[in-house]
Amino acid sequence: MLIKIKYFGLLTEVTNCQEETIDFSGNIISELLELLFVKYPNLKNKEFQVAQNQELVPVEAKLLSNEIVLLPPFSGG
């Protein structure tokens, strides 16, 4: 399944992109993250949360969308 992954803030400097599409066969978000940690070893050291359908979800959550968003700590205002 093709999953679009979006990155924000500091994370875009780790991945050197704002979004990418990855072919992924698992169904748990943490498995997808393992794949990304292989591609971007520095990502593992960064603090971030995962959003799916515009809501933060735990990494143990099932993949329910074909778009996953990685968000560093919020710093609005």
Binding site: F8, L10, A51, V69, P72, P73, F74, S75, G76, G77
Partner: protein
């Protein structure tokens, strides 16, 4: 008297003092209001390792941010007896001394607006996916961290 509908929260660049003044003026027809409370976030010239911040560049995960702003608005109207409420946040570059966040609540009574404004600002800081990149005078940068 209430305007609870969803609004466009993001503004390109800084929020001007004229915009804020106009926003205040628009409330003079709402004669059930007795108290307004306004929070303004202004970009600070912080000194970090001998370098001074000259601007913040804001980006956001806009879809989720707008959904969160809407949730915060709904929660605030639920929790507090507000007549109206407005939130504006900058996207893009905001220079030092300029305003990047404008939260405006109005109610018949002052106690309500104090409680509501602090609630809303804290919710925004904690739950809205906006990211500030602090640009230093030498064009280097660091990512802003809220506390």
């Amino acid at each position: 008297m209430s305007d609870k509908k969803s609004k466009n929260v993001f503004i390109k660049g800084a929020i001007s003092s004229e915009f804020i003044g106009n926003s205040i003026a628009k409330h003079q027809t709402k004669t059930s209001i007795g108290a307004h409370n306004i929070f303004l976030g202004q970009v600070r010239a912080d000194l970090v390792n001998n370098k001074t911040v000259s601007a913040i560049e804001y980006t956001a995960y806009e879809d989720m941010a707008n959904a969160k702003f809407h949730e915060i608005r709904e929660a605030a109207f639920e929790k507090f007896e507000l007549t109206c409420m407005h939130i504006y946040h900058s996207l893009g570059t905001v220079n030092v001394g300029e305003i990047c966040l404008f939260v405006f609540v109005s109610s018949p009574h002052r106690k309500t607006v104090f409680d509501a404004l602090e609630f809303i600002v804290e919710e925004i800081k904690a739950n809205v996916p906006v990211f500030g990149k602090e640009i230093f005078e030498d064009n280097s940068h660091q990512w802003k961290v809220n506390n």
